[in-house]
């Protein structure tokens, strides 16, 4: 298991929005849910729109799932599993992420 790497501090998070972190050359979209205080990390690359944009999508929920909607064509991706709700063929890579002593930390997946 690889080490936890700090990508930013807790104060950099704005509840209910995403940001993009560079993790060993990979672009990772990190989301922070204000209500549940949970962090999520998935690949920033939208496989349908084919651009690095997911961190800039709107976060929300569809049924029970916490999701992000792609800012390009609005498909929803489950932040927990990475799965695309509209097209299950597509699945984002997910990354372990945690809040640790005021720092947002991730592990390379």
């Amino acid at each position: 298991m690889s080490d936890w790497i700090t990508v930013c501090s807790e104060s950099d998070l704005t509840p209910n929005t995403g940001l993009c972190a560079l993790l060993g050359g990979e672009q990772v979209a990190v989301f922070y849910c204000g209500k549940t205080r949970k962090l999520f990390a998935v690949s920033n690359y939208d496989p349908i729109g084919e651009a690095n944009v997911l961190s800039r999508g709107i976060m929300g929920s569809i049924g029970e799932a916490t999701v992000v909607a792609s800012p390009l064509y609005k498909q929803h991706f489950n932040l927990e599993t990475g799965e695309c709700l509209e097209d299950t063929e597509h699945k984002l890579k997910t990354y372990p992420v945690r809040l640790h002593e005021g720092e947002v930390q991730m592990q390379a997946a």
Partner: protein, 844 residues
């Protein structure tokens, strides 16, 4: 088994309907169909004939085409008239000598215009109004004429009068009877209609019997009347009624009525059991039906009978509602009160020019007829009450009295209608059909239209059809449909009301009190926009930021590769050379693709996140403001050059456009808002396709509203004429705020208006007459909005905290490494997928 041969004589509206029904019948493959038309084209929409004068083409009017007939095995022969029926041999013969055997013969020969036997009626510019070819001749004749006379003041005559008036002729209507539309209207109704039509500049002459048409002095012809008077004209259009086309029946000894018409029984059969007659040529129960709906019913009956079914024709209601030269007219049932013992209520408003008469049964419990002129809102209710034999309410007079605004509608609820009630008579759509369509998943009028065809004919049933749909949706527990999304059980409008009344300032507050879940990309931006339009708070505050689309967060439209565009405001399209130079320099420095937009401004494409603030800083310093190209908000006010330079300009369109744009810039709304101001009627700014359009006139400014380009273009409606600037601004303030408050999410003003009950009239009532008493409040809202305006980019570049977001990575200053461009026509554009592969190979 060999196929049965069905020959259809006449390919008019009803003949075609018969064929269409038969080829869509489950037993279709047992029949071989042949149809003959005397006309040179397949069936077209005669009802909409007049639209040919306002730009519709023959193709627009077509009800079918050759491919459709061929694909369905329908044989057709055009421009060939059937002149003989050999009933013994069961063969028809055409003018050109073609012989066609039949098993079943269907006569759908329609009718022909009656031309009174007046000496001189066969002169060159004496025409009729029935076919597309007739229209061609009318157009040609109008080119060489200044004055036109329509003989006949009935329904078709008035329609014809409107047509020649629109062709620019001085128009007269000559009627034999003492009033217009004598068949459908009573005296009071006819009188008001006449007054309204004369106000429009058409001259009406009643009680005139033409005795001869001779050569004129001032005009081409002179019509002499029995009372010694005369009228000069260049063209005469006969519209003195129609006569059933029963020539074949007479010649080949089928039974015909005393005054014409091929006699048919309830099966639509003539006295020869293998010959049917349907449509306007058929006489049933001693009556001819000169409307398309009964003809369609006959077509259905004939198909049923021929295919072994048992549908019967049982007569049809001849009630009509129409707009003649913009005047609303409706006639229901026994409009003349001929029913024994009938009593009536009359409402006659000479000021507003509204006439309504309600005729009720002797015992006062049922509607038997009605005449409505000037205001036909009651048509749907009254018609349904009559057709379904429903009991009158307590105070029947209320059915025709103007509504007092707050009183609950006195009409019947659509719930009271039986399932069999016919809602759309053009397409014979019943309440049950609409309910079935809803059950099958239709939740809007678009769906209902395509599933049932309701309200795709004359359109008269649209309001009623929508009521039935809404009631059905509600009863199925479907009100959900107005819900904005799964997180809020409210429509956008309802959410807006909640936000305003409860003074809610954040999304979380609203979600907590009125919603559930976390929200989504639908409700969040919608609520964001509501919050912004009520409180005009800076949209990028922490509590609002998660509500915004990326476009709103980064104040630019995201492009396909994840970069953004930059559109500074160029109010009215006016820009100084200095500012143009700044744009050029910035574009050059950041290597941005540059394009003039369709909205008279300049778009710079391809800016990366981290570049956005740098670029905007430069632009703000040079005096630019954001153009809000990314938001659901006011876009541009397009202008033409106007009176300052243009030799035709009557007023300063650029100046006014700039004032308007400065006033409303930044206003958030349910969808984007576009404006334009033209300096004269030549309309170079295309104001009539904008949400708000302004055109200078000799006496002020004309205001147009609710136009749209885009996916479904809509011409704007003239809202008010010859306004001064202050009044115009006042109306626009109210209009915009009313729209912002009441429209649904992503509903352009065009669609909003189309869905607004009461339509344009109601809108005028609210905006101009302040019917709801909210005008002051709307103006105050707008004033507050204007006072709170800030250029979001200015605020952003001045605030270091805000700028933190404008980085691709939170933990690195690197840029997105996956962008790739190629040069085209001297500028760069994103590489295509194929090009990328090559680029990457080159780089690697």
């Amino acid at each position: 088994m060999s196929k049965q041969r069905v020959v259809v004589v006449g390919n008019g509206m009803v003949g075609h309907k018969f064929i269409d029904n038969l080829i869509n019948h489950e037993k279709a493959d047992q029949y071989e169909i042949v149809t003959f038309s005397e006309e040179s084209r397949l069936a077209y929409d005669r009802v909409q004939l007049s639209s040919y004068f306002s730009g519709a083409t023959a193709a627009d009017l077509a009800l079918t085409d050759r491919e459709y007939y061929r694909d369905n095995g329908v044989n057709f022969v055009l421009s060939d008239k059937v002149v003989e029926i050999d009933r013994a041999a069961k063969v028809v013969v055409t003018e050109s000598g073609r012989k066609e055997p039949y098993d079943k013969l269907v006569l759908a020969t329609g009718s022909f215009p009656f031309v009174p036997p007046i000496p001189g009626n066969d002169k060159e510019h004496c025409l009729v109004y029935r076919t597309i070819d007739d229209l061609g001749m009318i157009k040609a004749s109008a080119k060489e004429s200044k004055v036109g006379v329509v003989v006949g003041g009935g329904l078709l005559g008035l329609e014809a009068a409107n047509a020649i008036k629109n062709l620019g002729l001085e128009t007269h209507v000559v009627e034999f009877a003492p009033r217009l539309m004598a068949v459908q209207l009573d005296e009071g109704g006819g009188k008001l209609l006449r007054r309204k039509i004369e106000d429009l500049g058409v001259k009406v002459h009643t009680e005139k019997a033409t005795t001869e048409i001779v050569v004129g002095k001032e005009c081409r012809y002179r019509m002499n009347f029995a009372d010694g008077s005369h009228l000069e004209t260049d063209m005469i259009l006969f519209s003195a009624g129609i006569r059933p086309q029963d020539e074949l029946a007479r010649k080949f000894e089928l039974e015909v009525g005393e005054r014409g018409g091929i006699v048919v029984n309830d099966n639509c059969q003539t006295n020869d059991k293998d010959i049917y007659a349907i449509g306007e040529c058929a006489l049933w129960g001693g009556r001819i039906f000169g409307l398309v709906a009964p003809g369609y019913t006959m077509a259905k009956v004939a198909v049923s009978q021929i295919t072994g079914g048992d549908e019967l024709f049982q007569g049809a209601d001849m009630s009509t509602k129409l707009k003649l030269m913009g005047v609303d007219v409706a006639s229901i049932g026994d409009a003349h009160g001929n029913t024994p013992g009938a009593q009536s209520y009359t409402y006659n408003d000479e000021i507003e020019q509204v006439y309504k008469r309600l005729i009720i049964s002797e015992d006062g419990t049922r509607v038997v007829g009605a005449v409505l002129v000037g205001d036909v809102d009651a048509y749907g209710n009254l018609l349904q009450m009559m057709l379904n034999d429903m009991a009158l309410p307590e105070n029947p007079a209320a059915l025709i009295l103007p509504s007092t605004g707050d009183s609950a509608s006195v009409g019947l609820g659509v719930d009271a209608l039986p399932d069999s009630a016919q809602i759309c008579s053009c397409y014979d759509v019943t309440k049950a059909d609409i309910k079935a369509a809803v059950a099958a998943g239709c939740t809007d009028m678009g769906g209902i239209k395509s599933a049932t065809k309701a309200s795709t004919g004359c359109g008269g049933c649209a309001a009623l059809a929508k009521q039935v749909m809404d009631a059905e949706l509600a009863s199925l527990g479907y009100e959900v449909k107005n819900d904005i999304c799964e997180h809020f059980a409210y429509s956008r409008k309802e959410l807006a009301d909640i936000v305003r009344v409860k003074q809610i300032k954040t999304f979380d507050e609203l979600l907590e009190s009125h919603g559930h879940g976390l929200g989504c990309e639908i409700c969040k931006p919608a609520v964001g926009s509501i919050l912004a339009s009520f409180w005009n708070d800076y949209v990028l505050k922490d509590e609002h930021i998660g509500l915004q689309d990326t476009n709103d967060i980064f104040l630019g439209n995201m492009q396909k590769d994840g970069t953004y565009s930059i559109v500074p405001r160029v109010a009215g399209g006016e820009i100084t050379p200095e500012k143009l130079i700044v744009l050029g320099e910035v574009a050059k420095e950041y290597n941005l693709y540059t394009k003039i937009t369709g909205g008279q401004r300049i778009d710079l494409f391809g800016a990366q996140l981290h570049e956005l603030p740098l670029i905007w800083k430069r632009l703000v310093d040079a005096g630019f403001e954001t153009g809000h190209a990314y938001g659901k908000s006011v876009r541009t006010v397009k202008s033409c050059v106007g009176s300052t330079w243009c030799r035709y300009g009557v007023d300063d369109s650029v100046g006014f456009a700039i004032d308007i744009e400065d006033r409303y810039k930044g206003l958030r709304s349910p969808h984007k808002l576009k404006f334009a101001v033209s300096g004269c009627t030549r309309e170079c700014a295309e104001a009539q396709c904008k949400d708000v359009g302004v055109i200078a006139t000799e006496n002020g400014w004309n205001l147009y509203v609710c136009g749209n380009g885009g996916m479904r273009p809509r011409h704007a409606d003239l809202f008010a004429s010859d306004l001064d600037r202050e009044t115009l601004i006042k109306y626009v303030d109210r209009f915009l705020m009313f729209y912002v408050r009441t429209a649904d999410r992503l509903q352009r003003t065009s669609v909003w208006l189309e869905n607004l009950e009461g339509g344009l009239e109601y809108l005028r009532d609210v905006i101009i007459n302040d019917k709801l008493g909210i005008a002051e409040e709307l103006e105050a809202d707008m004033a507050a909005n204007i006072a709170n305006y800030q250029c979001e980019w200015k605020t952003t570049v001045e605030n270091p905290e805000r700028l933190k977001r404008f980085k691709h990575f939170i933990n690195s200053d690197e840029a997105d490494n996956s962008l790739a461009y190629v040069l085209e026509r001297g500028q760069r554009r994103p590489a295509t997928k194929e090009e990328r592969v090559q680029l990457v190979e080159l780089v690697d």
